[in-house]
């Protein structure tokens, strides 16, 4: 793999203003993503894992400017996406696509599948109508669907088929960068395996760079080249696949890996419990955001926000106790 950086995220933060309670006029700030910096290399799949509320979806959406970052920069090749005008951004959208989690709500129910897959081509006025249909048929075959399905509506398809349609739509404009936001989480396990295999094949065929967001560690371990672990809006650890899963350093990564039930009854053991819940992003803990659940936390953890520092080349950890 060549080491060219295609997406560089620098000190990215995304905050949302919300009402602090239902009846209140006071506004509170949800710090969904806080001071995240990372690079995505051309052709790689970067896995992004974390629990609900960790900000992984917001980070993915902020990178491709579906959510507007509050501060920081996103460099796509040599363009700063946060500084582009709408029209410039719209042109660039061809190069950045997203596959959403829920295949039941992400496809327009009143459009035919062919129109859904070909909508991007039509918006960007690519080719003649005939050429567009040919391209859609080609895409349908690439994702393993029969070409004559283009005249049907989304409700006629199962979850797995719908997710294939979503992938075909995302690939229509030959993107360079794909955000896959929990693309297999809503699927049955036998179908999940089909979609994972297809994504790996397509990312190789199309030379895609992918940000693969998931809460399922075994799926991420299977598909990702490098993995970033997020907790409460911050990156806790980032390393290549093998290092992260075999030699994790951050207490949160360790706890997360420990919590996954191993599909082998011979390796049965009591579940080690990480106490408590993920705190509210409305009021994150001071210092290290993980300290309230961390067994190794000290007084110092409450005062310093740990920097994401490099332990060894390519292995970054945000913990002062490591």
């Amino acid at each position: 793999m060549n080491e060219k950086v295609i997406v560089r995220v620098q000190n990215l933060s995304t905050y949302f203003k919300v009402k602090s309670s239902y009846y209140s006029v006071r506004k509170a700030t949800v710090k969904a993503v806080q001071d995240v910096s990372l690079s995505i290399l051309q052709g790689e799949t970067l896995g992004l894992v974390g629990e609900s509320g960790s900000g992984k979806t917001t980070l993915g959406r902020s990178i491709i400017q579906l959510d507007t970052p509050s501060s920081g920069n996103v460099m796509f090749r040599d363009l700063d996406l946060t500084k582009l005008k709408r029209s410039q951004l719209r042109n660039l959208r061809r190069k950045m696509q997203i596959v959403y989690q829920d295949p039941y709500s992400s496809l327009e129910a009143r459009m035919k599948v062919g129109d859904i897959v070909g909508e991007g081509l039509a918006i960007h006025k690519i080719g003649t109508k005939k050429e567009r249909i040919d391209r859609v048929v080609e895409l349908m075959e690439a994702v393993g669907l029969a070409p004559d399905y283009i005249y049907r509506y989304p409700h006629e398809f199962s979850g797995g088929q719908r997710q294939r349609i979503s992938v075909a739509r995302a690939l229509a404009l030959d993107p360079e960068f794909l955000v896959a936001d929990e693309p297999v989480s809503a699927l049955d396990i036998s179908v999940q395996a089909q979609i994972i295999k297809m994504l790996i094949r397509l990312s190789e065929e199309y030379g895609l760079t992918m940000l693969f967001i998931s809460h399922d560690l075994s799926v991420v371990q299977y598909i990702a080249d490098r993995v970033a672990v997020m907790y409460l809006g911050r990156i806790m650890e980032l390393a290549d696949n093998e290092t992260l899963f075999n030699n994790p350093k951050h207490p949160y990564t360790l706890a997360l890996l420990e919590a996954v039930p191993k599909p082998d009854p011979r390796q049965r053991r009591p579940f080690v419990v990480l106490p408590g819940d993920i705190p509210s992003p409305l009021d994150p803990p001071s210092g290290c955001v993980f300290r309230t659940r961390c067994s190794r936390a000290t007084d110092e953890c409450a005062h310093t926000v740990p920097e994401l520092r490099e332990l060894e080349p390519g292995h970054q950890v945000a913990c002062i106790r490591v």
Binding site: E51, H215, Q221, E258, P265
Partner: protein, 352 residues
């Protein structure tokens, strides 16, 4: 817990015996065959996992045991046939499907209780948790007479499921609690009257892994401390491997394979079970290369339109003519491993 294979002799008495259960739904578009000729038993202190994909009939089986579908088509369009026998300590047998409403109310919570998939939608939003837990205790008027007794029992109960500050949780409304906390309250309600059997319908599916670990840890403690029998429904084979004693694999409303958890993972007999196990992404990468995933082709059939013969045949690489025309019956091997496949024997010999 011993890691040896559990044999029939070691199992306790039968507490739940499902015999020839069939559940159909009459829909406008035709009949949906949700559960087809299901037979299995759950023993005292045993945890039985029911695994299967969407539409396999797992939840419908569980709802039938709780009689939440309405019998004989009185309240719903469900038609339930067969017998669901609950056996009590003194050997008495109750057929759940034949009970009148009074008796039904008496066994729910006392003998069988259920934990639902989504704690956010199954707790009542307009009552406090304390109120909802008290409702369960009030069913047992001989043991819990006064308000004070009920409050004390509720606090003790919440404490036993690992809820810090039970007094506060009793005063809280469900929306004030996190998902994991709500699920604990649900589990507490199910445990309140120390039933013989708890049915847990995907209790960890909507929950994060670290919270799932807390809940599974709680189930491990329930098994040890209370000796309650558990029917644990899930689609997560990792959870199955870690928690249950025996596994019932369901597909298209049928029990295609039933085995001890060790036999199921080490010597699966049904092609569907084998396919499921091969669909799990392997967590070890050998020499930086992925171990190949072998997904099952196609998708789960629509229960309103099941294929003829063996319902798995359109997705099965071993299917032959007989599989396409005739439904296989359940065969039981010597160690109580049961399988519903025409070709299981030859497939087993091939591999040996």
């Amino acid at each position: 817990m011993s890691s040896t294979t559990i044999t029939a002799q070691k199992l306790g008495r039968v507490v739940l015996d499902i015999r020839n259960l069939n559940v159909k739904f009459a829909m406008d578009t035709g009949t949906v065959f949700a559960v087809n000729n299901v037979n299995f038993q759950i023993h005292q202190g045993e945890t039985v996992g029911i695994v299967g994909e969407t539409g396999a009939g797992k939840s419908v089986t569980a709802f039938s045991v709780m009689r939440l579908l309405g019998a004989g088509g009185k309240t719903t369009r469900a038609r339930i046939e067969g017998e669901i026998i609950l056996k009590s300590d003194d050997g008495r047998e109750l057929n759940v499907l034949k009970l009148d409403d009074d008796k039904l109310l008496r066994i729910r919570g006392n003998v069988v209780s259920m934990i639902y998939q989504e704690p956010m939608t199954s707790l009542n939003p307009v009552y406090t948790c304390g109120n909802q837990i008290a409702e369960v205790f009030r069913k047992d008027k001989t043991r819990y007479k006064t308000k004070q007794e009920i409050t004390a029992a509720s606090e003790e109960l919440l404490d036993s499921v690992g809820i810090p500050d039970p007094k506060r949780v009793l005063r809280s409304y469900p929306h004030e609690l996190s998902g994991g906390m709500k699920q604990r309250v649900m589990i507490a309600m199910a445990l309140a009257l120390k039933p013989t059997l708890i049915i847990a319908d995907e209790p960890t599916t909507a929950i994060d892994v670290t919270i799932q670990a807390q809940i599974l840890n709680l189930f491990q403690r329930i098994q040890e401390d209370y000796g309650t029998s558990v029917m644990f429904i899930t689609h997560d084979l990792g959870v199955i491997a870690q928690l249950v004693d025996r596994v019932v694999v369901m597909y298209a409303g049928r029990t295609v394979e039933i085995a001890s958890v060790y036999d199921l993972f080490e010597k699966p007999l049904h092609p569907y079970t084998k396919g499921l196990l091969k669909s799990i992404p392997k967590t070890s990468r050998k020499g930086g290369k992925r171990e190949e995933l072998e997904p099952i082709p196609g998708s789960v059939p629509n229960p309103a339109n099941l294929p003829p013969g063996c319902p798995f045949h359109p997705r099965c690489e071993w299917a032959i003519d007989v599989c396409r025309s005739e439904s296989p019956s359940i065969e039981v091997t010597e160690n109580g491993h049961s399988v519903m496949c025409w070709r299981w024997k030859e497939l087993q010999e091939d591999r040996g």
